[in-house]
Structure formats: C-alpha cells, structure tokens
C-alpha cells in the first residue's frame, strides 16, 4: 500500500461545513486509524451524517483540512493555495471509499448480482466474468447467494442493505462509510446487517459508522465520538464514553437512547 501504517486513515482538522447560512460543522478534529471501527453518535441534526458525506466528497467542506490516507479530499494543495479537483480526480478518490446508505440506494433496474457487478465493470473496466465471480463470492459472504437473480423490490430491507454492502465491497475499498445502515430497517432485520458489519470488522476493514445502535458500538467499536450541534463533544473508547460519560449533553443523549 502507498501509505505508511503510522499515518491515520482519516484525518480531520478544524473541518467546517455550512449550507447557506446554516453552519452544520463548526470545527471537527479527529483521527481514524487503519483497521479501526470508528463510531459516530449523536442526536439528529448534529452533523454526523454530513461529516461522513464530506469524507467521500458528496459534500464539499468550507473550512479546515480533511484527508484520507494522506491525501486531501476534493482539493490539491500547491504552495499555500488549494485547487479544486476535477470530476475525474474526485471519482478516482471515491473508488477506494465504500459507502452504505440509510436508504440502501440499490439500483432498482438491476438484479442483486448486477448491482454488485456494476461498478467494477463500469469504473474499473473489469471483465464481466471476473466481476461476476467476485460478486457471487461477495453475495455468498453476506449470505445472499440464492438471491443473486432477484431485483431489489423482491428483497427485504435487511437483504437489500446486505446487497448494498456487497456492492460497496466489490470495489475493494480501503475504507467503508456507513450512514445509519440499520435506521430504515424493521427491528428484527437489524441483526442480520450488524452481523455482516461485525464480520467485516473482524477481517480488519477500516470502518466509520454513524449509528444509533449503542450495543454494536460498545461491542465492535474501537473508538467513539459523540457529536452535537456541529462539534465533537466527547471522544474515547466506546466503553468509556457510553459507560461513563463526562459531559452533560452526552449524559442526557445517552439516557434517551440507551
């Protein structure tokens, strides 16, 4: 790999983001290490999803520096000036970052198999036979080998989200972003998605997870950040932050969700 293992996978320094006059991120500083499962929790509107979307440049940051594996996201720094990256360069950066959405966002006109094959074939130019073989393996890994020929509407929410995870993994990313992956699921379907994520964590994938599943964060997470109103309120090991919160805001939030 290009990077030294001492360098953090994601590094945010004083990251600001606003939509018009609305300031959503007001100076985020954090570091995510390689092979770490990093959980972002906080009330809705706290900016955690926005921060996640900044990491793969679905949102453009307005201030500070944000880098993935040592490279700035969306910009190139030359001297003391920042240059916006071209569409092609942004797309190339995103290839290495997988993303899983709250609402799955599977391509409804494609089967589970072709959903997973689409990006390797279209973006990496892989041959269809190679892509199909890997896609079948990935579907098997998320426990859906028998659903390869089904369209997304024929799958349950949990199955759709597992296909979405397989689709992101097909690009062989070095970092996976999860944006509330279980929030749109019926309670009895949450477990099957968390199981797949737990397996990924055990295999050493670097993961940033925005979640309300405190049980998952406590059990699988290596680090946890509590965000509120666009700032990091408290950070540390999930056991400590969830078990023994120091700040009032953290305490009141946890008392509502735990």
């Amino acid at each position: 790999m290009s990077s030294q293992s001492t360098q953090p996978m994601v590094k945010a320094e004083n990251v600001h983001k606003s939509f018009g006059h609305l300031k959503v991120l007001k100076g985020i500083d954090l570091e995510v290490a390689h092979r770490e499962v990093f959980c972002l929790v906080g009330p809705s509107g706290s900016g955690k999803s926005t921060f996640l979307r900044c990491i793969n440049h679905l949102e453009q940051i307005n201030g500070g520096r944000l880098s993935v594996d040592g490279r700035l996201v969306g910009y190139r720094e030359k001297g003391d000036k920042l240059y916006e990256l071209k569409e092609k360069e942004v797309a190339a950066q995103r290839r290495d970052i997988g993303m899983v959405f709250q609402r799955f966002n599977l391509f409804p006109h494609m089967t589970a198999l072709t959903n997973v094959m689409e990006a390797p074939v279209q973006v990496k130019g892989e041959s269809k036979s190679v892509a199909r073989e890997r896609a079948l393996k990935l579907l098997d890994r998320v426990g859906l080998a028998d659903k390869a020929k089904n369209y997304p509407t024929q799958l349950s929410g949990g199955q759709q989200q597992r296909v979405a995870i397989a689709r992101a993994l097909a690009m062989e990313p070095k970092l996976m972003l999860f944006d509330e992956p279980t929030s749109a699921l019926d309670p009895e379907l949450v477990g099957e998605v968390l199981d797949v994520m737990r397996g990924l964590a055990e295999d050493g994938m670097t993961m940033i997870v925005v979640t309300h599943e405190m049980g998952f964060a406590r059990e699988v997470g290596d680090a946890l950040v509590f965000m509120d109103d666009g700032v990091v309120v408290e950070a540390g090991h999930p056991r400590d932050v969830l078990g023994n919160p120091q700040h009032e805001r953290t305490k009141s939030f946890l008392s509502k969700v735990l």
């Binding site: 793969n56 679905l58 569409e87 092609k88 797309a91 190339a92 995103r94 290839r95 970052i97 997988g98 993303m99 959405f101 609402r103 966002n105 599977l106 391509f107 409804p108 006109h109 494609m110 089967t111 689409e118 990006a119 279209q122 973006v123 369209y151 997304p152 509407t153 024929q154 689709r167 992101a168 690009m171």
Partner: protein
C-alpha cells in the same frame, strides 16, 4: 409480569378457544355480491347510441364500395408508408436531440443550460406549420448550403419537401421531448446519483447507466403519446407538397369528387397505424417496468378478461361462486 395481554378472559376456555370443535365460521365466506345494475344500463345506452351512429353513416351519401376499393389502393398505401417514414425519422431526431437538450438544461454549466432553454423557447413557441414553411423557404436566407470543401449546393436542391418536413417536425419534437426527458430525469431519486458517485462513477456514466434507465419508466408513456401525435401532425407536411397520407386523401377527393370517401380511407389508415403503435408502446412499458414492482402489469388479453368479468354477478369473496 402482569402484562395485560397475557391475561385470559374468564369466558374463554384455557386453550384460547382455538381448537374447540366444531369451529364457528369455518369454511369460506358465501356472500351475496354487489349487483352492478348501472353497468348494464350504461352498456345498453352506449350500444344504442353506437347503432344510431352506424345507421347515420350507412344511410349517408357515401359510396362504401369506393372506400372498400380504395383502402388497398397503392396511392394510399404509399401515402401511409411516407407518413410512417417521416414519423419514425422525426421521432428519432426528436428523442435523441430531446435527451441531449434535457441533460444540457439540467447541467450546472450556464452556457449549456441557457442554450437548451433558448432552443426550447423558440421551437415550442412557434407553430409547426410555420416552422415547416420556414425550413422549406430557407433558400431565401441562405442561397447556398456551403460546408467548405466537403459539400456545396444550392439550398433549393437540398431542401426537398422531405428534408424540410423532417427538420421541422424533428427539431420541433426535440423541444417537447426535452421537457419530457427532463421530467423523467428529475423523477429519479437523488440517492441513486449519490450511490453511483460513491462507487466512483462519473457524471456521464451515472446518467447513462443509472439515471436514464430509471427515467425511462416515466419518459415512455408520454413519448408514445408524442409518437402517435406525430403520426397525425406529419399531415401538415401536405402544405409543402410532401406526399404523405393526408395529401393523398385530399388529392383523391378533388380528383374524383368522392371527398368523404377519401377522408374515410385515410382515417382508417391512420387508425391502423396508431393501433399498431399503441400495442408496441404497451410492451415497451412492460419491459421498462422490470424491477419497479413485484409482478409485471397484465397483458391486454388478461386485462380484457378481468374487465369483462366485472359484469358477472359471481362473488370473488373467498373464491367461491354463489
């Protein structure tokens, strides 16, 4: 635990009454179905009015034998062929150019989006008939068509009735198709574009592979409508002497004085053409519906059977006939 749901009312046996036999209300429901008297009455009224209309046409001064003879006449068959040809070619121009204009219109590039806006403003804002005549008389503006070394000729040589009609109808249609495509593209959830971008796909590929195939479901029904409209709008090309179906009908009328007969013949031809295309549209829609619902929509035959069955008085409740 004192969950109220766990409590069993006193008058129900300990097993909850579930396995008590004989069971009450066993077997399927037998109910008297709702009678649709209104449907029967309205069907009779419609059939009666239809019979009156048929009689009026039968008694009128129309030589039906002429209609029968002319329907297969080569003049009309060729006219129908010309109509079909100009319609298909114009629609191809309209659909391709319309899709390009729609993407331009939605582009963040201000030059592209204002060019598309201006195009739509002009071609939607002037009558097609005027546009046909403008193209046909283009030699009054550009006497020569000059493409440098490649091609040079007098505009009058180039702008035949076919070319003028093709350009006018095709370019006009593109303006309407652009709006239809724009509506289709905007109907696709923005999460689809985000998911494609997150996988590293660029804008053009996202549009072609992800957005447009899903937009098709919204685009196709109005496009079929446009196609059928075009079959008939192409009749305006008679004004510049293009030998399509309407021109043939008019000429036949003034030549033989069988005016009504000529128009009936071309009406039957137009109906035949639109019917064939309606059927084609139906199956195209079925194709693009894949993945959007759990089961495909019924074929016309299945639908007809279902509609007729609503006249039957049997009840569908519980699946038994009463």
């Amino acid at each position: 635990m004192t969950d109220p749901l766990d409590k069993v009312p006193a008058d129900v046996p300990p097993d909850g009454g579930r396995d008590a036999s004989p069971r009450k209300y066993s077997g399927p429901i037998k109910a008297v179905p709702v009678r649709h008297y209104g449907r029967w009455i309205s069907a009779v009224v419609v059939l009666g009015l239809l019979a009156l209309l048929v009689r009026a046409f039968a008694d009128a001064q129309i030589q039906w034998s002429v209609v029968g003879d002319q329907i297969t006449n080569g003049t009309f068959a060729w006219g129908a062929w010309e109509t079909l040809k100009i319609t298909v070619y114009s629609m191809v121009i309209g659909v391709v150019l319309g899709a390009i204009l729609a993407v331009m219109r939605l582009s963040p590039n201000p030059v592209l989006s204002s060019v598309a806006w201006g195009y739509i403003w002009f071609f939607r804002g002037t009558p097609v008939l005027v546009q046909i005549l403008l193209w046909f008389n283009l030699s009054l503006v550009f006497q020569y068509l000059d493409l440098g070394f490649i091609y040079r000729d007098e505009m009058n040589q180039v702008m035949t009735p076919f070319v003028a009609a093709l350009l006018a109808l095709g370019l006009n249609e593109a303006a309407y198709m652009a709006e239809i495509c724009r509506a289709g593209i905007q109907s696709v959830d923005s999460g689809q574009t985000e998911a494609a971008h997150a996988l590293g796909m660029k804008g053009g590929k996202t549009m072609r592979r992800i957005v447009l195939p899903q937009a098709m479901r919204v685009i196709i029904p109005p496009t079929g409508n446009e196609f059928i409209n075009m079959l008939k709008t192409s009749s305006l090309a008679f004004a510049i002497g293009y030998g399509e179906l309407f021109l043939r009908g008019r000429e036949f009328g003034s030549r033989t004085l069988a005016i009504m007969e000529g128009y009936i013949v071309i009406s039957l031809w137009y109906l035949a053409l639109t019917t064939v295309f309606s059927i084609g549209q139906y199956y195209l829609e079925r194709y693009y519906a894949r993945g959007s619902s759990r089961s495909l929509p019924p074929t016309p035959l299945q639908r007809l059977r279902k509609q007729l069955s609503s006249f039957r008085v049997q009840s569908n409740v519980g699946g038994v006939k009463v």
